[in-house]
């Protein structure tokens, strides 16, 4: 091996070892994914969370699908309403969908205006390498439903995990549309 190559190889090895050491220091004790209750408590601290199972009407499904431009796979929706001092501070929904051949569930939390506040992955049955990172999911924060809420537009794709990105984007469009419809029908 040439001297330059040895030096460069040594440098890259050193960089990798440094990253691995940093990684091992930062490893969290928790295993598995966050639960709904943990996520809701973190997003809406000290709030009273009301859990509801909503049975959508045919009209609500039609309106939500038109708004989202996506299909709603089920008329049964898990909805959470967070109140603090009797006042609504936010809402959250669970969306379960297929990524490739396995399921993913997202807890999509919204502020009172119906904009995305935070997204948590509560179930991911595909290999974890395909799971969207927190950094990637943060792209949706404070975004309303609109044409720009699409991959390759306001939302950048995930290298090597296109199907995860697509499934996530579809789920978020669905939830934002659904929230608008349910708030109109209050």
């Amino acid at each position: 091996m040439r001297r330059n190559d040895k030096l460069l190889g040594g440098f890259i090895t050193l960089a990798m070892v440094t990253c691995l050491l940093s990684a091992s220091v930062a490893i969290e004790a928790q295993s598995g994914l966050i639960t709904r209750d943990e996520a809701l408590a973190a997003i809406f601290p000290e709030a009273n969370i009301e859990s509801k199972r909503v049975f959508l009407t045919a009209s609500q499904i039609d309106r939500a699908e038109n708004l989202a431009g996506e299909e709603l796979p089920s008329a049964l929706i898990a909805r959470y309403v967070a109140r603090r001092g009797g006042e609504i501070v936010g809402r959250a929904y669970i969306d379960t969908h297929i990524v490739r051949t396995k399921r993913e569930s997202l807890l999509i939390s919204l502020d009172v205006n119906g904009h995305v506040r935070r997204i948590d992955v509560t179930a991911f049955l595909e290999p974890l390498e395909y799971k969207a990172s927190e950094l990637w999911l943060q792209q949706y924060n404070r975004r309303p439903l609109g044409d720009d809420l699409a991959l390759q537009r306001a939302i950048r794709p995930i290298a090597g995990a296109t199907l995860t990105a697509l499934a996530t984007n579809t789920a978020i469009r669905r939830v934002l549309a659904l929230d608008q419809v349910l708030e109109q029908d209050k």
Partner: protein
């Protein structure tokens, strides 16, 4: 008198009847109230049960809750061994997926020197992924490939142990974590009917070897580090490392190698990283005057990818080096310009733009792409050997990719190939691929 008696009798009966009717009304009202109360209780109970069922269904559908755990007695009662009963205990563990591609290559009638190369139509590969989730910690994953419609390969097969969200352990037949394409080689992921030449000759995709290691990610840094069996150096050629892959088949493991990568995603849509492979390739076969040569082989690469607003920019530079190249060539009986080089290098830059990205296209994408690539598999030669003029080549590819849905792709491109030996053959290609 009789009349008076009759009147009194009638009045008495009427009163009796009125009393009796009032009592009846009260009883009826009471009964109705009781029924109403009971119905109300029943309705409330029905509502409660529907809510419980809805919650249960939604929870099961979400995949968050694993299914019933069975005791040893339960398993015994099923008449099954513990492993056979596992399907009863967990969320369905088996997963299937796959991909494939068919390619049509129409070469120029003649190369730069006038030599002719035939046209080919090949069902390049059909692949089935089979995985099994034993439990939350242990996962098996594999890829079985039928190549050229007749050859069967195991492309990878490994067991993962997920220690936590940031760290996993992996062992088996592994994809060597080098470059952009090797681990993500589905036709819907990379541009071009053919993979970049650098990632065929210097990073010999699809490159897999037996080994074990760690993988994971912390925040925006992803890493993999494996120990695998080294190349079989006796199969190297002037065209690169491709022949040296052992593919997990009775692999010679006298020399082991390190393979690892680090990728950083500073912001969504942007990825930069580096990979390194280093290990001996002698495998005890490269001898000269009874001295055993290690044939230390190193490959490193720097790569990057940017995907913003429909643009996709990718670039990779790879460089390799081999020690004992002279002894390797002597041992293999190679001479002149046919020798294995001491160093090789190559790289490419590729740009594409999805023309339909900024409009509502319902998953349809149409992306022209252009790739410029230079590869030299004989960059420096051992003393006494010469460079072949054909191994230093330039490839310019212009094409378009159509995806009717994101799982299906049709790629059409033309590649201009040139080298100093004037033996480059231009190529028109059509690739139809799928992944699910």
């Amino acid at each position: 008198m009789l009349v008076i008696l009759l009147v009194f009798t009638f009045m008495g009966m009427s009163q009796l009847s009125a009393v009796s009717s009032d009592k009846l009304d009260d009883a009826a009202e009471e009964a109705i109230e009781q029924v109403d109360n009971q119905q109300s209780v029943d309705l409330e109970e029905l509502r409660r049960r529907i809510e419980v069922l809805a919650e249960e269904i939604e929870s099961l559908r979400s995949g968050e809750v694993q299914q019933i755990q069975l005791s040893e007695e339960d398993i015994r009662s099923l008449g099954l061994a513990p492993s056979a009963a596992s399907a009863y205990m967990r969320d369905a563990g088996i997963s299937f997926a796959g991909y494939g591609e068919m390619i049509y290559k129409n070469y120029s009638e003649a190369n730069q020197s006038g030599n002719i190369k035939g046209t080919k139509f090949d069902f390049l590969r059909n692949v089935l992924y089979v995985g099994y989730r034993f439990n939350d910690k242990f996962i098996f994953n594999s890829e079985i490939e039928v190549e050229h419609a007749k050859e069967i390969f195991l492309e990878f097969a490994y067991i993962d142990y997920l220690a936590n969200e940031n760290l996993g352990f992996r062992g088996g037949l592994l994809l060597v974590p080098v470059g952009l394409v090797n681990e993500f080689h589905e036709p819907t992921v990379f541009f071009g009917a053919d993979r970049p030449v650098t990632e065929q000759r210097i990073i010999p995709t699809t490159w897999r070897e037996n080994g074990a290691g760690v993988y994971g990610s912390v925040n925006n840094v992803a890493y993999r580090a494996y120990i695998v069996n080294g190349f079989n150096g006796s199969k190297f050629s002037s065209a690169g490392f491709r022949g040296g892959r052992q593919k997990g088949a009775k692999a010679k493991a006298g020399n082991m190698a390190f393979a690892g990568r680090v990728d950083v995603t500073p912001m969504p849509g942007v990825l930069v990283g580096a990979s390194l492979y280093s290990g001996g390739s002698g495998q005890g076969d490269i001898k000269n005057n009874s001295r055993d040569f290690n044939v230390q082989t190193s490959i490193f690469d720097l790569h990057g990818q940017v995907q913003i607003r429909g643009f996709d920019l990718r670039g990779l530079y790879a460089r390799s080096s081999i020690s004992d190249a002279l002894e390797l060539n002597q041992s293999l009986g190679l001479t002149g310009a046919n020798g294995v080089a001491e160093t090789m290098h190559g790289g490419y830059v590729q740009v594409s733009y999805n023309l339909l990205s900024q409009i509502r296209s319902f998953g349809l994408s149409l992306a022209p792409y252009i790739r410029y690539e230079k590869v030299d598999t004989q960059a420096t030669m051992p003393v006494g050997f010469t460079r072949s003029l054909s191994t230093n080549a330039t490839f310019r590819t212009l094409g378009v990719e159509l995806k009717p849905i994101q799982n299906i792709v049709l790629k059409v491109d033309y590649t201009w190939v040139s080298n100093q030996a004037q033996s480059g053959i231009n190529q028109f290609s059509i690739n139809m691929g799928y992944a699910f």
